[in-house]
Symmetry: C2
Subunit: 202 residues, 2 copies
């Protein structure tokens, strides 16, 4: 058996390192030194209306409650709209046809004036401060709405991917689309607290 890909004190590691049990990266510097900022922190940023487009059936109650919670928090900063696009509108059993139908439905929702951010596992890996940058950048483009697109269980189609003004990923993990929505909503709220230089309220 090879070396485990994480530090391990289980005895299976054939060359126990002095660092066993230590974090995989060096310990972080003290909080004061590692405060990261968005380039827009403390600057005036245009509070464009936001819309989150998701594909799916009815959400679980827990997901819906959390989405409402973050919508309310985000509402202090900008208008937020939450649009659920019907999953598999053609009621097909062919995954490819399903993806194409959902893709077409989502394209119908996108207008020329939208700044479109697509969430995709092949997108750019971002930190929270970069989501704040993205909101600030989008505000400088002349777009009139910032729209985030999350695909259904089988992901997004090619038209929406090509329409994207930015493509990001939330994690290296494959996230359930409802969980991805929760993570996104929390990050949008966090991004605004970063821009405004405010304390994050847990």
């Amino acid at each position: 058996m090879g070396v485990l890909p994480w530090s391990c004190r289980c005895g299976l590691n054939p060359t126990p390192s002095k660092n066993r049990g230590a974090p995989a990266r060096p310990p972080p510097p003290p909080p004061a030194a590692r405060v990261r900022r968005s380039k827009y922190t403390g600057q005036s940023v245009r509070a464009m209306p936001m819309r989150v487009l998701t594909v799916g059936k009815k959400r679980s109650q827990g997901t819906q409650l959390l989405v409402e919670e973050y919508k309310e928090k985000l509402g202090h900063y900008c208008d937020v709209e939450d649009t659920l696009i019907k999953s598999n509108p053609k009621l097909t059993s062919d995954v490819k046809v399903q993806i194409e139908a959902e893709d077409a439905s989502m394209m119908q929702q996108l207008k020329a004036e939208d700044f479109v951010v697509v969430l995709d596992e092949n997108g750019k890996d971002v930190m929270s401060e970069q989501i704040a940058d993205l909101i600030g950048d989008a505000g400088n483009t002349g777009s009139s709405r910032l729209t985030f697109c999350i695909g259904g269980p089988y992901g997004l189609g090619i038209q929406v991917r090509e329409r994207a003004d930015a493509t990001i990923r939330l994690s290296s993990l494959v996230l359930n689309h409802q969980v991805a929505l929760i993570v996104l909503m929390e990050q949008l709220y966090r991004a605004w607290t970063i821009i405004k230089g405010q304390k994050y309220h847990h």
Copy 2:
């Protein structure tokens, strides 16, 4: 203004690329080619009891509902325990003292026979399949329980970090600790479906 760190069709990008609007990484190969597997997929893996230790006050209703939902799903594969450690037991206003007190409380919960996985923003970036590997690896160590530790709003203390048998991170984003718990629970369920070679139920 420099080049935006994501592909952009807003006109701010001084050297518009042919790839504007395209994903930041090359498009993924077709699904058939990119099926990733855990090294344990289809193998028998010891279903060690799992415990998730979190620090905090009362969770939001949405979070609790989602935790219960995934606990039930995970319960088909292994025993799952969800332990909430009291936040700031010394009721101090000094963040350092708070972290140390929470660290000590969490250490009291950890036994010698625990395989301890710490979630930390400086940990190893993992894919879902590697969480499946981690569960399989832990089952081969002789440990009798697999324990995941999530810190409170100010993160984990040094004792727990040093006690870790593995340190992973769920995202490059800074996640609220309740959101981190939801992501973890979903990944543990996903990991077991990967190990068992089963369809993921949304």
